[in-house]
Amino acid sequence: MTSLQKPEIAIVGGGPAGLSAALSAVRQGAEVMLIDRDPALGGQLVKQTHMFFGSRKEYAAIRGIDIPGKLMAALEEEGPEKFKPLLDTTVLGYYDDGVILADKEEEQAMLIKPQKTIIATGAAEKMLPFPGNDLPGVYGAGAVQTLMNVYGIKPGTRVLMIGAGNIGLIVSYQLLQAGVEVAAIIEGAPKIGGYLVHATKARRAGIPIKTSHTIKEAYGKDSVEGALICSLDENWCAIPGSDLDMKVDVICLAVGLTPQTELLWQAGCEQKYIPELGGYVPLRNEKMQTSLPDLYVAGDVACIEEAGSAMVEGKIAGLYAAADLGYAEKVEERYTSYYRELEELRAGPTGAKIRQGLSRLNGGV
């Protein structure tokens, strides 16, 4: 028989948002349990071998893989006795009495009833429906990155990348670095979605980027042997006779992310469908508090964005979860500085979609 655990704050997900939330809450003086399904903290950062942009305060010009170590070191400094990581542990449920069900392989499942919970579960990759989409050799970009950058395994020899957002562009370049050929990057939209600096890097390396193109089908006997792609007109309809046969053994999907909101649905907090933010996202106030007062959110689960803003949202959620428990030192001052940082990260043309999505979430049109 295990007993009900009662930490002051539980954080679900130890990626950039969850780690920053932990640091922020521990800094206020609260006691934090950080639960992550992986054997190491860092979330998607553990495979980001490229340097980050954005705010210098959020580790711009540092490689993603080096960020978790820095946050862990800061946590160590702030008070290791306040910080309890639970690794290899998956949260499988959130019940309406605020109890979390957490499962660790080969151990008894745990029930945890925190005073405050921060959900930082991140996002899942979107899938694309096309014939042959279940053939071995069709991968999500996250899986390709995990294989290459975490385990040092090449996914194949010649790749067709679907999606010219930042993930598609960066993973294409990382494939080249691993010695894998990238036949082309195709993108349904008429414009490249990712940053120009990533696109030019891929182009300079000789990878063609075909906008207004989509995949029609994948073919192969036991695994992917090739793909048919075609051009799209301005209404996203296939142009007859534009088919192109690409001989590839890997089709990599980088067609966007969607917030992993399962626990939020189970908890029953209010959500709204905002395509600009990646799908259904929770309503929340400036404290990153959801419609349920004891439940906070941070990072991609709240809005598909970048690691930089996920970390700032984490700081805000951690700050207020702790403040609501009475650890209220310098709350206003800290919030003001975090809020400014978020505004800076979302300023300019690259943040336009996020700004519009957030305004719609808050009742605007």
Partner: protein
């Protein structure tokens, strides 16, 4: 081609299966889920939910946000009976 396009890989449902169900008059994702088991496999819909919603939206001319969302229940992933057998105080 629809027969060859997988929507729910856990329950092995194709685009043809989903479209046939919609054609029968089921325009509610929750109903389609119960009828076909779309999203009720080990991954609990994390891959197919979005595809199902989009398919229903485009067939009915509605926005995804106006459709009834499917129900979410714990556990999100399979759990061994052994892990919960002993109970909690």
């Amino acid at each position: 081609m629809e027969e060859n396009t997988i929507i729910c890989r856990c329950e092995d449902l194709t685009l043809a299966d989903i479209r046939a169900t919609i054609k029968k008059g089921f325009h509610n994702p929750q109903e389609i889920k119960r009828l076909t088991r779309c999203g009720m496999g080990p991954c609990q819909g994390s891959t197919c939910r979005e595809l199902l919603l989009k398919e229903v939206a485009s067939a009915t001319g509605k926005n995804v946000g106006d459709l009834e969302m499917t129900t979410f229940r714990p556990p999100n992933k399979p759990i061994k009976v052994k892990s919960i057998m002993m109970g909690v105080e």
